[in-house]
């Protein structure tokens, strides 16, 4: 925690407890935490994510009370939850759609971090822990999707576990070890259930570290300059408890629309068919939040290279603090970086669309195109390749080069100065020292 504690025990009991377990002091300091006063709504997604994690854990523990993690019983027990368990349908739909809401929030949270340079010194470890949370989230979501034991669950599990078979020599031993058999089967489902129950608590532990690492340097902010003193901050409570609470309420409206009006919109109809090891569904797609990576995987014609590219795409996120050479945190003052960033967001969305289509589908219907190397130029293969390439170019070339070459706009001296120097505020504030290259 930064700054001395401001907590004053008021009662005899509080004084007694404070000497033995200063838990009230700890909570009071958390609530009183000095937070930059200029955080916008993009900063509310941290709170939204904490809410999502609690929702998933609570609904998940309830579902586990009614679920049977065996190959023979899993599919039927999910039907049992949906039809027979009191309010089972509601709790399951909250849990299933909650995973999607969790990912919507985490992607916005990550894009916010990239745009405002929240990963830059001294917040590299904070970013790394966040990236680790994202990785464990992906593992948790993947295993959770296997549990209903429908066709898409089964074949998704098969395709993803087969990624490990790309590893030379030891690959097949690893897949057989993951499966506990010669293929995805009941033992696989059992262990996925066990791990799906465990990993959310691992995430909770990582979240504690994430918040700890946040509280050492304090929040970043939209202007990207360091907090200069008390005049730049407000206490977390009530200012941001209320702001986060309002954002969570708005987020819950969207969440509720999915749960009550289109609970299956983000799912796949094939998962309403019980897992069958000898019939592959005509079109296997992962859940929407994995589609960009799936597109990158399929864009590469070689198995090992494809798996490597997918892993590399995730690795790029981890090493971002050491790729970005710009000293200016916020892209508000980096007009060129802003353009590349928005194009990067667009590339991720387009890759998502590519991942949802079959590789040979025509992008523009009715246009025959021509074959370039191994695939039609008018197929999703080539669209995936172009935008997949941009994904890597953004991280590995644009981000390091741009910081060295661009001329950023002048960065304000303090968090307050852009407000005071705004044309609407009568006396023009002192112009900030222009932040020069690098």
């Amino acid at each position: 925690m930064s700054g001395p504690s401001t907590y004053e025990p008021t009662s005899a009991f509080e004084r007694w407890l404070d000497k033995r377990l200063p838990i009230i002091r700890f909570s009071a300091d958390l609530l009183d935490f000095p937070t930059p006063k200029n955080l916008n709504y993009w900063w509310t997604f941290g709170g939204i994510l904490a809410f999502c994690l609690v929702t998933q854990i609570v609904t998940g523990i309830i579902l586990a009370m009614h679920y049977d993690p065996s190959g023979a019983g899993a599919f039927l027990s999910v039907e049992h939850i949906m039809r027979d368990v009191n309010h089972g349908w509601l709790i399951r739909y909250i849990h299933a759609n909650g995973a999607s809401m969790f990912f919507i929030a985490v992607y916005i949270h990550m894009f916010r971090g990239i745009y405002y340079g929240s990963f830059k010194a001294p917040r590299e470890v904070l970013w790394l822990i966040g990236a680790a949370i994202y990785l464990v989230m992906m593992a948790t979501a993947f295993m959770g999707y296997v549990l209903p034991w429908g066709q898409m669950s089964f074949w998704g599990a098969k395709v993803i576990t087969n990624l490990f078979s790309a590893i030379p020599i030891i690959g097949p031993s690893i897949t057989s070890w993951l499966w506990g058999g010669f293929a995805v089967d009941s033992p696989t489902l059992n262990r996925f259930f066990s791990l799906h129950y465990l990993l959310p608590f691992v995430i909770a532990g990582l979240v504690a570290l994430h918040i700890w690492a946040l509280h050492v340097p304090g929040n970043s902010n939209p202007v990207g300059v360091n907090v200069r003193g008390k005049s730049d901050t407000v206490p977390f409570h009530p200012y941001y408890t209320v702001k986060d609470g309002f954002a969570i309420s708005v987020f819950l409206i969207m969440f509720a629309i999915f749960v009550f009006y289109m609970p299956e919109a983000l799912g796949h109809t094939d998962n309403a068919i019980e897992a069958n090891p000898i019939v592959t569904p005509p079109h296997i797609v992962p859940e929407w939040y994995f589609l960009p990576y799936y597109a990158i995987l399929r864009a590469v014609p070689d198995k090992l290279m494809g798996v490597g590219a997918m892993g590399g795409a995730i690795l790029c996120i981890f090493i971002l603090p050491w790729l970005d050479t710009s000293k200016v945190r916020s892209m508000r003052y980096r007009p060129q970086a802003k353009i590349y960033f928005f194009f990067f967001v667009l590339a991720c969305i387009i890759l998502g669309f590519c991942g949802a289509h079959e590789v040979d589908d025509k992008v523009v219907a009715g246009l025959s195109g021509f074959t370039l190397l191994d695939a039609n130029i008018n197929s999703y293969t080539w669209v995936s390749r172009i935008f997949g390439l941009y994904y890597f170019v953004y991280f590995l070339i644009i981000t390091p080069m741009l910081g060295l070459r661009e001329t950023p706009l002048p960065v304000p001296e303090s968090i307050s100065s852009p407000v005071l120097s705004h044309p609407a505020a009568a006396p023009a504030g002192a112009a900030a020292a222009p932040e020069k290259k690098g």
Binding site: P187, R298, K303
Partner: protein, 184 residues
């Protein structure tokens, strides 16, 4: 130890005289910890490998005469699809013709079937890319096509195009009689 220690300085002096005694205890304790963790780690890792009852169900028998010419059956072997295909002379000829063609995983057709039984193609129906089940009758070679990621196999189950690295696996099997095979 204790009775030989008469004071702090004496203990210190003893250390200087024979530092090896303490080092030995440290090294022995560390070695026991490393060895113990290593020894107990293996059972915890190996428990995830296929269990004895899973391994016990690993072979099946099948009467191939039930498959008419030009058709195939999909059996479940080790919880995976197993194709038993009764190939037509045209399919065999197409496979043999390409024996010397440029392939990712070169193999002759006769090495993928039993001698004198080239009409029977027995392969594991698991795409060597990411494990989908390919379907017969697609792709330019008239063999199998995996629609997940577009891997193309010929009438011998050899990989001819797409991302898969290997031919469809031929399991260990033998003809027990003229028409009965035992797989696994």
């Amino acid at each position: 130890m204790a009775d030989s220690v008469t004071g702090a300085t004496s203990q210190h002096g003893e250390d200087l005289k024979d530092p090896g005694r303490r080092d030995f205890i440290h090294i022995a304790a560390a070695a026991a910890a490393v060895g113990g963790v290593g020894a107990i780690a293996w059972p915890f890792i190996d428990q995830m490998n296929p269990s004895a009852d899973t391994l016990a169900l690993s072979s099946i028998e099948y009467d191939v005469s039930k498959v008419p010419l030009g058709q195939e059956v999909t059996l479940l072997w080790r919880k995976q699809p197993l194709f038993v295909r009764h190939r037509t002379p045209a399919e065999i000829a197409a496979a043999v013709k390409d024996d010397s063609a440029d392939m990712k995983d070169p193999q002759r057709d006769e090495d993928r079937v039993k001698a004198g039984k080239s009409e029977w193609l027995v392969v594991v129906g698991v795409c060597t890319h990411l494990g989908c089940t390919p379907a017969f009758g697609g792709g330019p070679y008239g063999g199998y096509l995996c629609h997940c990621h577009g891997s193309i196999y010929d009438t011998s189950g050899r990989i001819r195009g797409g991302p898969a690295p290997k031919n469809l696996a031929v399991p260990d099997y033998a003809f027990l009689s003229a028409t009965k095979i035992k797989v696994g």
